[in-house]
Symmetry: C4
Subunit: 217 residues, 4 copies
């Protein structure tokens, strides 16, 4: 789409508000679509028994709602510090959204196979955390875009924040990949570890926005 | 995600506009998804007869549209008085959205089992109002966040509004739980009571925004 | 939700931007969901033959996309003249959205029964235009809200615009109801009439926004 | 909707922000709906084998996510240069959205028939690129609207940008139509060509927004 015959001139900085709006849309839809795959089985059972029998679906719904909720909170906190976007940031953001929009599928797979015998429960758990890990990897791309061009940050934030957050994103990626490997063998241990991690992430958010790191005084 | 090695400094107050946008997205999708589960049965009947036979689905669609509509109006009225958000408010809001996004499932269950014999109609009704009651409970969390930190309110609103609204939210929670218990035994009574309550809520809204309580003159 | 013990004071005028955002969400979802019910039949036929055999679905998709597209253009033109909303306007707007969100169902019914023998094609057509007529009726509510309180209009617009538009909405309602009655007997005539009307509405929009009625010079 | 009895006066220029919001909604939903049709087959196979067997669905998901992602980036870049909209631009934009919202259907068709024998794989590929080509054609409408009325551009952009971009849109339309014809005969060649084109489009975006053509210095 470049045209050598046209003189190229600097473009006005792109405002992140439209990126936020599009991302909010994708995350809002993905978080809402999770319920579509909760369906009553074709059964002659008492309704109460049917509803109670869907507990793995409720658990998967809660878990994925929490996952996307935490991603949205991180996205909100990310763009609260950004004043303009560039191409690499756009690509990283689209990669986050690719994973978020995909999440309803591994969620359904996990809900339907968590009670399976054999290695199916492990495969379903690993598939779920593989998606989550790729998503965490996309945050490395986003923070790398900021690290390379600190002018993307709002006044008052230094390049240090990008370095610290990039490291955090790498840790998150490695941790989720590790949880996936553990889940392949002992699914229940992986799910409990993940639950602890999500609560451990959410608790400081509850005290939000008292303090945030990386901002110059 | 805290990092002891980094000096922590106050963050700029978080603007609620993105919380509104994300919430609008989730509520818009949930209210629209309600129609997905209205489907013609596989049948050789005359089409008119099939369409008329779907009346419980139309009723459930109308009822859940009214429910989410009223929640959206409350959400709109809530954030019209808020100028910044904190972590507890975010968590309360996500809990509201968790229930709203889940609502299409109990709606479908109610539509398909309202005409069932035995205790199924009661179970479906109670399941619906259980979801509605948890949603009402999330408003207690949201108003508690405001009550604890009145600086979240826009200028001109006092902490009194948070106290009054918290009490209202508790009443709403108890009322919906009670309707659920009634619905377990006599579903039709619960549904009529609920209809009256929604209309009773919507009527003053029709006169909106002439007056609202809790604002200093 | 009123509380007699609290002194009631005037509320700050409600900004319509959030109403627009929520409405945009519902209309965007409804217009996108239309495609979900286009599905290949379980068949051994050649794929090309299957794809061509879905022509009623493509027609219904195009027609409903045009319908919601025209509603969105009207909604855009409506709120371009509004500077604040009141309760009756909110209720009218929710009624428009109720019909828009419902539209995917009559669209699917029409697509699946347009080729039926007997009176089914007529019933499906009438059902579709019944939904469209109720939607047109909701615009009477919205313009009535403006007619009763011209202060809702932006500066430069007079109450005349509300009177003219209310009359237009009544004509639209009657016309769509009439098309529905015609469709019950001769579906194809109703659909052609409707197509002409939509094109007749869209053509002046193409010249938009050169001139609009009801604005003081 | 014109009324000869009312004096017509110039309307205030329409702000493109609501067009962006509605378009973001449609694109966000279409990009998220792509996952709905990824479903595990009813099968007794090992879960891992089932998940791996869905590779055409993953490929189609990735491809259509990239397609809509690129359309969104173009849309973003288009409206970054626009300060008001007119009717022809609205119609062109709705035509883009018509194709984007339809894309999940040809995506599913492609995913399910890519491995078919006979001419089915070719038909599915051509159907996909036919949709993409019509979408590219809609951009010709949009840029033509700008070319005819350069006042739609923000200050600093000249009519030259519209001429260059119209030519680009024509090239894109012809290229996608050609890929569709090739795909009818040799699907795999068409898909590889398309992949190269998307990557070739995305790479300069990565360097975005350093320079953009058509802006006066």
């Amino acid at each position: 789409m470049t045209d050598a015959s046209t003189e190229e001139v600097p473009v006005r900085p792109l405002n992140p508000s439209r990126v936020e709006a599009f991302s909010d849309g994708v995350m809002a839809i993905a978080i809402t679509l999770l319920v579509i795959d909760i369906r009553l089985p074709e059964s002659q059972d008492d309704l109460l028994k049917q509803l109670l029998g869907l507990w793995p679906s409720y658990l998967a719904y809660l878990g994925s709602f929490a996952t996307i909720g935490v991603i949205w909170l991180s996205h909100h906190a990310f763009f609260a510090r950004i004043r303009q976007v560039n191409g690499l940031l756009q690509v990283g953001n689209l990669l986050v959204l690719l994973c978020v929009a995909f999440l309803p599928f591994p969620t359904t797979v996990l809900a339907h196979h968590l009670e399976d015998g054999g290695r199916n429960a492990g495969v379903a758990t690993a598939f779920y955390f593989l998606t989550a890990a790729v998503q965490a990897g996309a945050w490395i791309v986003m923070w790398t875009a900021v690290r390379r061009d600190p002018a993307l940050l709002r006044p008052g934030y230094s390049a240090d924040v990008a370095r610290v957050e990039t490291r955090q994103a790498v840790i998150g990626f490695v941790a989720l990949a590790a949880v996936g490997v553990i889940g392949l063998v002992v699914p229940i241990v992986a799910l409990v570890l993940y639950l602890v991690a999500v609560v451990g992430y959410a608790l400081p958010v509850m005290a939000w926005p008292r303090r945030v790191r990386g901002r110059a005084a």
